[in-house]
């Protein structure tokens, strides 16, 4: 499974980006840069990531860094996958 690809797909679906995610890379900034990313969207992202990857996210593990860029979010998912494996 290509985690980066899947994460970008989740961002596209949940944030209704209308194809803007095709230009996303690991360096793309999220929090503060993508206007669609409000608190409801953060919750939807977490929920969708849990369902898509079959992980259980402990809210205590989440901080501002988690959503800083596409890359930090992918790293976060990889860590969660490693601990739940």
């Amino acid at each position: 499974m290509d985690v980066t690809h899947e994460v970008i797909r989740v961002l596209e679906d949940v944030l209704s980006l209308k194809g803007r995610s095709t230009s996303f890379s690991r360096e793309t900034p999220l929090l503060g840069a993508v206007p669609e990313l409000d608190s409801m969207a953060v919750v939807s992202l977490l929920t969708t990531l849990e369902e898509r990857f079959g992980i259980v996210i402990d809210d205590g593990d989440i901080n501002g860094e988690t959503f800083r860029t596409v890359g930090t979010l992918v790293d976060f998912v990889n860590e969660q996958l490693a601990t739940s494996a």
Binding site: R9, L15, S16, D59
Partner: protein
């Protein structure tokens, strides 16, 4: 087909009036459906899809009642005073109204946390010998998970404001357990609603019925948690089917979106039952 909007008085302990929309087919109803909505922001985001589905059902000859539960939408009462048990009572009131009006056995059509309410109402009705059919849209497998998602809105808000602190969801749970209300995303969540929601489940009820569970997304099968639940219902006598159709998670997307495949699958589900 016609649309009737009215307030339905409820004789439950909570009392009050519930705002209802009745989608009435042009000829005698072949079947009837009660929509059980999710709550808070998910209810708002899914209004369009609920309306599209209800209109389609009515065009197919299936009567639909959309009822705003206590403290939601245009119904009387304040969201902060609503409890899970009141909502289950409301669903039962809606069911009775539909049966009297159409003479048909109702389907309970739930979306997200509405599936938990529909399951609980079905269990209550089973005790009286009435086995309603169930149509679930993207069910949440447990009330515990539903509450967790809702409380996250608060910690996510703090996260965006840069004031996130470890364990804030746990702190909210403690306040609810102590009987306090908390405010999340503009909604006052009472301790009574939180505790009822937390205990809610999709657990089965005995009886011969149909149960269809549809999800949207790019997967091919219902989540393992929902599959386990469906297996229980099957043992309890239900004819189950489930599937995933391509489409957006419209109850949570930033823009209001439509999932036509979900409407098509649901039409087919109810139509099959009518012709069977």
């Amino acid at each position: 087909m016609t649309l009737e909007a009215f307030f339905l008085p409820v004789g439950t302990p909570r009392g009050g009036r519930r705002y209802c929309l009745f989608h009435k087919p042009a000829s005698a109803a072949r079947a009837c459906v009660l929509y059980v909505h999710p709550f808070a922001e998910e209810m708002n985001k899914s209004r369009r899809m609920a309306a599209l589905m209800a209109r389609q059902f009515a065009a197919d000859g299936v009567a639909v009642l959309q009822m705003d539960l206590h403290g939601c939408g245009d119904s009387s009462g304040d969201f902060g005073d609503a409890s899970w048990h009141d909502w289950v009572d409301d669903v039962l009131v809606g069911c009775t109204w539909l049966r009297e009006r159409t003479g048909a056995r109702p389907w309970l059509w739930g979306l997200r946390s509405g599936c938990l309410l529909a399951a609980e109402a079905a269990r209550r009705l089973s005790h009286t010998g009435l086995h309603v059919d169930l149509l679930w849209w993207a069910p949440i497998a447990s009330g515990k998970a539903a509450l967790q998602h809702f409380l996250r809105l608060k910690s996510a808000g703090e996260l965006l404001a840069g004031s996130a602190s470890r364990g804030s969801v746990d702190a909210l749970r403690e306040r609810l357990a102590a009987g306090e209300s908390i405010e999340v995303g503009g909604y006052r969540l009472s301790s009574a609603l939180a505790s009822g929601l937390e205990q809610a489940s999709l657990a089965s009820a005995a009886g011969d019925r149909r149960l269809a569970s549809w999800d949207v997304g790019s997967g091919h099968a219902a989540s393992p948690a929902v599959q386990r639940v469906l297996a229980q219902w099957q043992i309890a006598g239900a004819q189950c089917r489930s599937g995933v159709v391509e489409g957006p998670a419209f109850w949570q997307t930033t823009e209001v979106e439509e999932a036509p495949n979900l409407i098509a699958a649901s039409r087919e589900t109810v139509a099959e039952a009518v012709t069977a």
